[in-house]
Symmetry: C2
């Protein structure tokens, strides 16, 4: 039976970078007889422009029937004046929630070829390889009640609710412990248990689940300290697990440490490793359409897809090695360019990976 991939290029640089990832994946598909089929659909601002909604039912159905989703990026200033409910971001949040993609894996790896791109000193970041596991379908992103209402005294009041149930925490805990088991067996759970009761519950469930993984060393850290420690000594971390909102912030810090946010992929998985794969960077409207965006994060997202959803570690490693070879051959898109390198376009970088395969 063919394995179906829903391809949602999205907005901004989305279509350009997704095209390169598909180029690479199509080649492997034939070369390794992977049996993948692709189907495109609209999401985000592009979907809003065409259908008046950032997540059309046809797109959602396609994703539900697919084994994996490849997403480019959504959003841009064009759609910022829109009402909350129809913003491009709502399309992304809608898929995460509807497909139950509660486990978001965000590796932050510093490529040795790019040590100079980091704003941190080489000794602080070289060799950095950490994984952030972010809860993706709960917390303040989805909690009710939410919204803006008018209070009795006539003034507006805005409300969002950070809410987690034991079972929501337990399943992301298991995800994170399992990942830690396959890495260096160190898991740091990040919360704000000294202030927020919801994260006190988080901490106690993490501790409880930890008993099932005696080989993994569990620690706890407050979110403000974790943000600080990421800047001070990021190599102390192996795997970090945290809530939706904290994960949003911490994963962007971790990404920036590597100086190559254009390089970092992500996976968002449900309980059966069905998943959505996307670069962690955004739609970069300022450079959209110029053919200068870095496609490597999307290409590496495809590698994660092959590993996690299609259980093809060899194919995943082929892509990862090819990306490394491309970097070794000194080709660079503008975002990671430095003196002495060869500047290439988006498709030039895709070709470099293809040639290295």
């Amino acid at each position: 039976m063919p394995k179906k991939i829903a391809v949602l290029a999205g907005d901004g640089i989305g279509p350009e970078i997704v095209a390169e990832a598909i180029k690479v994946l199509s080649f492997l598909n034939t070369d390794m007889n992977l049996g993948l089929v692709f189907e495109n659909a609209l999401i985000g601002g592009a979907a809003y422009d065409a259908f008046g909604t950032p997540l059309p039912q046809t797109t959602l159905n396609l994703c539900k029937n697919a084994d994996a989703v490849l997403l480019g990026a959504v959003g841009g200033p064009k759609w910022e004046p829109l009402a909350h409910a129809v913003r491009p971001e709502r399309g992304l949040l809608g898929i995460r929630s509807e497909l139950n993609l509660f486990s978001n894996l965000r590796p932050a790896i510093l490529y040795p070829q790019l040590v100079e791109a980091s704003t941190l000193k080489p000794e602080v970041v070289s060799g950095l390889d950490l994984m952030i596991v972010r809860e993706l379908t709960g917390g303040i992103y989805f909690g009710q009640p939410r919204g803006v209402h008018v209070a009795e005294n006539g003034e507006k009041v805005g409300i969002n609710t950070k809410i987690y149930s034991e079972s929501e925490i337990r399943r992301i805990a298991h995800s994170a412990f399992k990942i830690a088991q396959k890495r260096h067996k160190k898991l740091c759970s990040v919360d704000k248990a000294n202030v927020l009761e919801v994260t006190e519950l988080w901490r106690s469930v993490m501790t409880e689940v930890g008993k099932d993984y005696p080989d993994v060393q569990l620690s706890h850290m407050y979110v403000d300290n974790a943000a600080m420690q990421l800047v001070r000594a990021p190599k102390q971390f192996d795997v970090i697990v945290t809530s939706n909102m904290f994960g949003d912030i911490l994963s962007d810090i971790a990404a920036m440490l590597t100086g190559s946010i254009g390089m970092l992929p992500s996976a968002s998985l449900d309980a059966n490793a069905k998943g959505m794969y996307e670069p962690i960077h955004g739609s970069a409207p300022d450079i959209a359409g110029q053919g200068i965006a870095n496609p490597l994060a999307t290409i590496l997202s495809v590698a994660m897809m092959l590993r996690y959803t299609f259980n093809q570690p060899d194919a995943a490693e082929r892509i990862e090695r090819a990306v490394n070879s491309a970097l070794d051959s000194k080709v660079r898109t503008a975002d990671i360019y430095s003196e002495g390198m060869t500047k290439v376009s988006t498709s030039g970088m895709g070709d470099a990976v293809l040639n290295a395969l």
Copy 2:
């Protein structure tokens, strides 16, 4: 009439660092005839141990009747097993709330003498001087409903509520715009308006208040991007204004950029510039009692007190200049020590400042 300062040394290194700040302030009090009187009280874990509560009524009354509060730090592993309601942190949060200290100023300044202490490259951070204005008495720290309850299906559910009213946002906006006016007239408001309705309200009130300050350039940034930009190019910021939880995280990142979290003071002000002053670092239980903690953050907090509450800018500047001279004379506590410097104790550093006064 004498001006009253409530002195709450707190836990961990609190007593050691507060002692040095009082030493410096007492000298100036006599030398400049400032008319300050000091009164001590317990807070945090120390208060819990003595009275079974982290914020005894006597302490609160003292603070309410004082013109300013000088706080060391609260908390430590000893009290972590305690129930939420009596943890040391509750004492701190209680004062913030009871005294209506809604405007928390957290400067992040890189001292030229300490450029090497930063984990960031010198060209990225040298000259860094930004101010974070954090809303301190609202948001998810104080929102109701909160707590852990048992749902119908028998599992526990944790809840906290992020809530802001227009008037709460408006008053912190005015604080921040006024501070920006006295600096480089650039204010960046940080929110997550693409996901959280409460921060959409935040953004719109900021924009509205901005009309009263046409000389200040207002921009908006999502919190994940702001965290990233602080690591990528922190010098793009002049003043940042944000909510309680985001401010907690961002101010710790900003502090760590300077490599000298032992150096950074803070002020928490009410509408009449009555305030609480404290170092932004914590109680550092691991080094408590050893006489090696850095007292400069607390000494600089006293300078902020003289400037904001007592309207004594000359006295404030005298302290700041003395701190600079102490650094120039190459004395360093362990946290900021580097080769070629002279390592001094907590009181040695206090003496160095005193001698430079």
